[in-house]
């Protein structure tokens, strides 16, 4: 980490739709991708993030600032993450998980993955397909076969309501 002493260093990040964002280096280095750039001394000017659009990057930066303001308290960090993700729709979540993956931010990646998984939990196959826009490319026979293949998994296990 280049400059830990003196005045806090600010980095400028550029989204793939050419929006510029200022963010404290201490918060930005939550991203291993950015941290590596800083450590290699490539963070002097503008850091271009080719895989992240402005809307998503703004959201990620909000998260970076929010989470880095919380001292080392896993409980508080978790509740911040929960709150931060609570009102995001799937499209936003999907953009964020892509951004988190690209920026190599494991805490955000894990939290968003868990959030998406939570949305899918206990839902019927049809509901998930519809909600996530998954095209069913099975033939009816194939689908029936896959269902049959995993039927054993549910033996003796109560079914969940599909809603």
């Amino acid at each position: 980490m280049a400059a830990e002493t003196g005045t806090p260093t600010t980095l400028t990040l550029k989204s793939n739709d050419d929006e510029l964002f200022s963010v404290a280096e201490s918060a930005a280095i939550l991203s291993v991708t950015i941290r590596n750039m800083v450590e290699d001394g490539c963070a002097g000017g503008v850091i271009p993030l080719d895989n992240v659009d402005g809307k998503t990057l703004a959201s990620v930066i909000t998260y970076m600032n929010g989470i880095s303001a919380i001292p080392a308290d896993e409980e508080k960090k978790k509740s911040y993450r929960d709150k931060f993700l609570s009102d995001k729709d799937f499209e936003t979540l999907a953009d964020m998980v892509l951004a988190a993956n690209y920026l190599n931010m494991s805490c955000l990646m894990d939290a968003v993955s868990a959030k998406i998984a939570q949305v899918m939990e206990k839902k019927s196959v049809g509901w998930v397909r519809r909600k996530f826009g998954i095209e069913n490319d099975y033939t009816p026979e194939e689908e029936a076969a896959v269902k049959e293949e995993h039927k054993w998994t549910f033996e003796g296990v109560e079914t969940d309501d599909d809603n």
């Binding site: 397909r129 519809r130 998954i134 490319d137 099975y138 039927k151 033996e155 003796g156 296990v157 809603n163």
Partner: protein, 373 residues
């Protein structure tokens, strides 16, 4: 998720217009991301995703988290043992990912037939093959009684000799190990302590043999020369069900070998008395990080006090000492046999234990906080 239930999809009447956008975005998520998502699900939900589309068919087989529980948490219904085992075996066989971060297997075994739980060896082997970081094997028995013929953790050498891959790697990636109601040999405990450099959490609950073996260990001086330094271990929790518990010495050697240990909790299951342990025999050392110790099942005898006082002496970092005077059903069942009211007996014993614990707290002039319950 019973597939049969999905024949009529209730959502067909729910025309949402988000599909178009979603369709594009789900295709942008590459398989690794989808696997990360699937890894956050319960096994049940994860397997169901295979029905979504051909792309999803095999994704769950790469899941980094496999948790099996014979009890359905929402209904409390318990699966038949045969079905449970078939379920676990099937899933483990189908799993294709190179690694599993977390493997949890919890099922209740019959008090007398636990020894027949063959096949568990192969689950442990699977855990090794998939380089687990967190492994829990919990074979709980009704009422917390230790089974007559418990499942014994396999011989570690035999396990390692099953393939070259596990032979060289073993359980080296293990960070957390939780074993409950598993008969575990001295040698195996040793292996985990000596061969897992990343181990942070070790919890061995209700292992009948543990105490006996640790006792043997004392005679063989299992202490520091044998044990590697466990730099990562921060929290150590042991539950011992034993008729003859004289392993306190071993615990001090364990603490000595774990320089970064912060929390040490020990729970005793029976009311059998500790033999008096001379402090001369205990390991002399200084510990800089131990902050919390907890002794559950405290009955108020000299050896327990000596153990606590010894730790207070060697660990100036100590902040809190928890002493819990509550004992388990075991004791209550004994009282039943003598025809006295268990509650009354229990109450008397607890009062005595609390009185002793408070006395102990008073003798410590240091800043250490005592929490006595």
């Amino acid at each position: 998720m019973e597939m049969n239930k999905h024949k009529v999809d209730p959502d067909t009447q729910n025309p949402r217009k988000r599909m178009k956008k979603g369709e594009r975005i789900i295709d942008k998520l590459h398989d690794d991301i989808l696997i990360a998502i699937v890894s956050c699900m319960s096994l049940k939900d994860a397997v169901r995703t295979s029905v979504l589309s051909s792309r999803w068919r095999y994704l769950w087989m790469f899941s980094g988290k496999l948790e099996f529980d014979d009890r359905d948490t929402s209904t409390g219904k318990i699966m038949k043992r045969v079905n449970f085992k078939a379920w676990v075996n099937r899933v483990l066989k189908l799993h294709r990912g190179p690694q599993v971060d977390s493997l949890v297997i919890r099922f209740s075994t019959n008090l007398y037939y636990q020894a027949r739980t063959s096949g568990i060896d192969s689950w442990i082997y699977f855990a090794m093959q998939k380089k687990v970081k967190s492994f829990e094997l919990n074979l709980s028995v009704e009422k917390g009684i230790f089974p007559c013929f418990p499942y014994r953790f396999p011989n570690i050498k035999k396990l390692l000799s099953r393939s070259d891959q596990v032979k060289s790697f073993g359980f080296r990636s293990l960070r957390s190990l939780r074993l409950a109601y598993v008969d575990i040999e001295d040698e195996v405990v040793h292996y985990f302590l000596a061969s897992c450099p990343c181990i942070e959490q070790l919890c061995i609950r209700a292992s009948n043999k543990a105490t006996k073996n640790l006792e043997i260990g004392r005679e063989r001086t299992i202490a520091s020369p044998d044990l590697h330094q466990l730099y990562s271990l921060k929290r150590l929790e042991l539950t011992v069900l034993s008729m003859n518990c004289r392993s306190l010495l071993f615990f001090t050697s364990l603490i000595k070998s774990s320089p970064n240990l912060q929390e040490f909790r020990i729970k005793r299951g029976s009311t059998q008395l500790f033999p008096v342990v001379s402090s001369v025999m205990t390991a002399e050392f200084q510990h800089k990080n131990l902050k919390v110790i907890e002794l559950s099942g405290y009955v108020g005898i000299t050896s327990e006090d000596e153990f606590i006082l010894h730790l207070i002496k060697v660990a100036p970092s100590l902040d809190v000492v928890f002493i819990d005077t509550q004992t388990d059903h075991h004791a209550k069942e004994n009282y039943d046999r003598f025809g006295t009211s268990p509650d009354w007996q229990d109450c008397q014993l607890r009062l005595y234990a609390m009185y002793r614990a408070e006395g102990l707290a008073r003798t410590c002039i240091s800043q250490i906080k005592f929490v006595i319950t």
